[in-house]
Symmetry: C2
Subunit: 218 residues, 2 copies
């Protein structure tokens, strides 16, 4: 049995280790979990004893196969619930995170499968993140940061890197949503701001925004 707290740590380790092959540091975990390094060490030991992570003192951790599956299961539930909240109840994409953080810990295989079916097997959540299937496979999408798109090129918004309520509300304000057509009109070398044409409306965005929007070129 994996406790709620253990699930949260596994999820954090998964996200931190997602893009590096190197192991995840105690401090990084503590910071993301908004706790102290000593607490993280305690939990790491527990996860290690349960075979959910590979751990060597002072060398950080990596998820074991079982740990990876447990983390993905939680992430799968989180994202399915987000789809439910947005598509079935009238939540907006900036309101779902907190509630999904609670719902992701509900333990019922049947519930998850039935929910997935009820939602018509969605492949991504309201922020464009992929939803793992029941075997733990994560559909891969070829997306890149808007900041990397060259001047003159056209693309479609397919996801957000920062899914904080503040950023999502900013996007709402300027009618930027998943599926929006974006053309890069110009890039400013000085501050890395970009001028875009979004669904035919011109708008200049900062580096911060460009580095938190995922797009697909077409």
């Amino acid at each position: 049995m994996v406790t709620l707290s253990e699930e949260n740590y596994l999820k954090t380790i998964f996200h931190l280790g997602r893009h590096e092959k190197a192991s995840v540091s105690t401090n990084a975990i503590a910071q993301k979990m908004e706790t102290k390094a000593s607490s993280a060490t305690d939990m790491i030991k527990k996860l290690s004893e349960k075979g959910l992570v590979d751990y060597q003192k002072y060398k950080g951790v990596q998820l074991s196969e079982n740990g990876r599956l447990a983390a993905i299961s939680v992430i799968r539930k989180h994202r399915l619930w987000e789809v439910f909240l947005v598509n079935k109840l009238s939540f907006s994409w900036d309101e779902v995170h907190e509630v999904a953080e609670q719902l992701e810990h509900i333990k019922s295989e049947k519930l998850t499968l039935e929910l997935e079916s009820f939602l018509d097997y969605p492949t991504q959540d309201p922020h464009g993140d992929p939803i793992p299937d029941s075997n733990g496979s994560i559909p891969s999408t070829q997306k890149l940061l808007l900041a990397k798109v060259k001047q003159g090129h056209q693309c479609i918004c397919v996801g957000v890197k920062d899914s904080s309520s503040e950023f999502l509300k900013y996007l709402d304000k300027y009618k930027i949503a998943l599926g929006s057509q974006i053309k890069v009109i110009s890039k400013e070398a000085y501050d890395e701001s970009m001028t875009l044409k979004i669904n035919d409306i011109q708008k200049t965005i900062s580096k911060e925004v460009a580095q938190n929007l995922f797009v697909k070129t077409n």
Copy 2:
């Protein structure tokens, strides 16, 4: 803030105190919670300090107004989720309890309200129990135990007293459901068994069954 454990105690005290005006005993609470009396005493003290129950040593507890509202809120969520599981996902009425026990603790006023709306404001759960509204009012229904119905009388099944999976499966087996037409053909004085006509099929049920089915006479 009310913890998960506190919510479970409040719910138990509510159910135990439902039909008596007298206060609820420590032992009764401990038994329902499947814990020890000493643990119940500890929790009762905590609830008392939080103003959720009125407590006098050796004299049992009663819910305060705040405690009653907190208990009803949990019961409301439990029953709404049960409706969701049965009506929207394909759960049967004997499968919902365990999952609803988890879902009832999700904290989000918006979620509860949106869920209620999505389900079209149901007034009862899949077992015929009333669903409290957002103010904490519980719609009252005039129902009585089938065991109390006199020979020759006609009634409709409107609820179950025992909502254990075993009892619900028994009812499924003999096609007894909410809404079933029941006519009392005869009652056996010796063992209090009853012979019924249920949706035109004759069936003899034991005292145990008759005492766990709620009906409405018509």
